[in-house]
């Protein structure tokens, strides 16, 4: 008699087979699919290229900055780049629709260009600092305006600004 509940459940719930590809697939929100890159947040530390076990991440030179290229056909979804990315520019997203015909092999890339910025204090070139990175650098500062001001400065200008603030306090 033990099979009766199973039989009833199967009658009510229908088949266990997912209807994909005839309907939308079910993807959990936490699925680790392909990597996504946001060029605004990148600080060009290049740690991702260093830790990538498959060598899928490459940096190249462009005028006034650097280009970022991640090859989906090499990436092994390990997530090391996202783990080591302090600026939170790289993160895995639940998109796994990567299959393609061979003519698109060299289009399967995640690209971005990161440009050096001018320091708001001394005017020299500096690397961009994302909000996540600024919070990591200065966890004690909660004032959003202060964080925004620090993000526009180069490391030495940040140092002198913070030293002046500490001396005043």
């Amino acid at each position: 008699m033990w099979y009766l509940p199973v039989l009833l459940k199967n009658l009510i719930e229908g088949p266990a087979t997912e209807s994909f590809p005839f309907s939308e697939p079910r993807t959990p929100a936490t699925t680790r699919g392909r990597m996504s890159f946001s060029a605004e947040d990148c600080a060009l530390c290049r740690m991702c290229a260093r830790v990538c076990p498959a060598g899928a991440i490459q940096f190249g030179k462009v005028d006034g900055g650097q280009s970022f290229t991640l090859w989906h056909n090499s990436c092994v979804f390990c997530g090391l780049c996202a783990h080591y990315c302090d600026s939170k520019a790289l993160k895995p997203i639940p998109d796994w629709h990567l299959s393609h015909t061979t003519d698109a092999t060299y289009d399967m890339v995640e690209e971005g260009q990161v440009f050096a910025q001018k320091c708001g204090g001394c005017g020299r070139q500096k690397m961009p600092v994302s909000e996540a990175l600024a919070h990591k650098l200065y966890p004690e500062i909660e004032d959003k305006a202060e964080i925004a001001a620090l993000r526009t400065l180069c490391p030495s200008c940040r140092k002198s600004r913070l030293a002046t603030r500490d001396a005043a306090a």
Partner: protein, 147 residues
């Protein structure tokens, strides 16, 4: 035989491609996912008319996993020759495409495209069963065009 026209045979054969799986030095991750797509009721590849077969001579779509190690290279190429034309080759995982984490190893003869033409790539390490089904769908469309 002449009673059944060739176009009729092509039309019905296009609905039922047979799959043959070659492990060319894979870590077995992709093979587990292939077994998942084939044997778990949840993903069930046979809904698309596909069936795994045990001999390359019966195969229509060739599924390749692994990096193509130097040791299996000749055997894999011989198996590839045994699959009758027209055939569709599907590379499963990043290994057959780029070598993945094994790239530039002394034991790796790949990438595959240096030796045999690949038609569909399904990147992933390993790809999800749904991703394999999605790629196989593209392969079946190619197969229907070729036959």
């Amino acid at each position: 035989m002449s009673l059944i026209s060739r176009s009729f045979l092509s039309r019905i054969a296009a609905r039922s491609p047979w799959l043959y799986r070659i492990n060319a030095g894979s870590c077995n991750g992709c093979d587990v996912e292939l077994a998942t797509t084939a044997f778990l009721p949840r993903y069930d590849i046979e809904r698309l008319g596909c069936q795994y077969c045990g001999s390359p001579k019966h195969a229509d779509i060739l599924l390749i996993t692994g990096v193509l190690t130097a040791r299996v290279k000749d055997k894999v190429l011989a198996l590839y020759e045994e699959v009758p034309d027209p055939k569709v080759t599907v590379a499963i995982g990043v290994c057959p495409i780029s070598g993945g984490v094994f790239r530039e190893s002394y034991a790796v003869a790949g990438p595959f495209e240096n030796y045999i033409p690949i038609d569909v790539n399904i990147p992933g390490c390993p790809p999800r069963p749904q991703a394999i089904i999605e790629g196989l769908q593209k392969a079946i469309v190619l197969w229907a065009d070729r036959i």
